[in-house]
């Protein structure tokens, strides 16, 4: 029956909402006008964890064929590597880093 599903949905929704609310804490930090690699990495990683929870629990990917599970996981990894990679490489270049 649905009880097990419903509980999982509620737990997933509460977890996603709680994670989102904790991100309000970033607004109270006093270093607002400085780039912060830790906050950026945290924001991107947390967002991708939330996306994976949405895939698995809300979109029912955990019941889907393995191919769909792997494809969604692959996109999460590719997005994470791309976004974090672009951020760190971009910040390194903008702060005068040279490959030589």
């Amino acid at each position: 029956m649905s009880t097990g599903f419903d509980k999982r949905l509620i737990v997933a929704w509460l977890a996603l909402s709680a994670i989102t609310i904790t991100q309000l804490g970033v607004g109270s930090l006093q270093d607002g006008l400085r780039p912060n690699a830790a906050i950026t990495s945290g924001a991107i990683v947390i967002a991708l964890i939330k996306v994976r929870i949405i895939f698995r629990e809300f979109m029912e990917v955990r019941h889907a064929p393995v191919l769909l599970c792997r494809l969604t996981d692959l996109w999460v990894v590719v997005a994470g590597v791309s976004l974090l990679g672009c951020y760190f490489v971009g910040m390194a270049f903008s702060s005068g880093f040279s490959l030589r």
Binding site: G27, A47, V51, F58, E60, A64, T72
Partner: protein, 192 residues
């Protein structure tokens, strides 16, 4: 149609039509491209982006995210209810999803109006160009989402039209709006 026998272990299944999943993964890749361009441009002018970002209200971003997460939850409940043939509950959850979507729509329009009133338009600087572009293209997906939800409600309304696969397809599209927003929220409101 997807039919489920109670208390039986379910075989693995694709929720909704596979074509919709192809579209979802395509959209995810397209938005990843937008996000990569945004981050590259952001790292070239970090101070400008941070100063501009400070004009956004993080609380509004959090509120919008919570509303869309609630809409995802209700549309997931709609799918479950339809699967159990509790069509009244499914319809209630579909309407609830639409209500959450409408709440997001109003909140987003008010946020845009506030930004424009304060003098931050599309051409103000590069950050706001990205802000309006990303939120507007997401908004367009939301508007399409209302049509998709309406199709789901139309399907649920009459016993002759009910198709579990179609309901799951509509829900899959709606969840896409949600997870894309989760990333947009992180990149526009939270990252530094």
């Amino acid at each position: 149609m997807t039919k489920v026998a109670n208390a039986q272990p379910r075989p693995r299944f694709v929720p909704g039509q596979p074509d919709m999943w192809a579209f979802v993964l395509f959209e995810a890749l397209v938005f990843t491209g937008y996000f990569i361009v945004y981050i590259i441009r952001r790292t070239q002018s970090p101070d400008l982006f941070l100063q501009s970002q400070a004009h956004l209200d993080l609380r509004v971003g959090v509120f919008n995210t919570l509303v869309l997460l609630a809409s995802s939850w209700s549309v997931a409940r709609c799918v479950q209810a339809a699967r159990e043939r509790s069509f009244r509950a499914a319809l209630t959850n579909a309407f609830l999803t639409m209500l959450f979507g409408f709440l997001f729509l109003v909140s987003k329009v008010l946020e845009w109006a506030t930004e424009i009133e304060e003098g931050f338009g599309f051409t103000t600087n590069e950050f706001f160009s990205f802000y309006y572009f990303l939120t507007a293209i997401h908004f367009l997906h939301l508007l399409i989402g209302f049509v998709v939800l309406a199709i789901g409600i139309y399907q649920l309304w009459s016993p002759a039209r009910r198709s579990q696969e179609m309901i799951e397809t509509c829900a899959t599209y709606w969840h896409t709006i949600d997870f894309l927003w989760v990333l947009i929220f992180a990149l526009l409101y939270v990252m530094r």
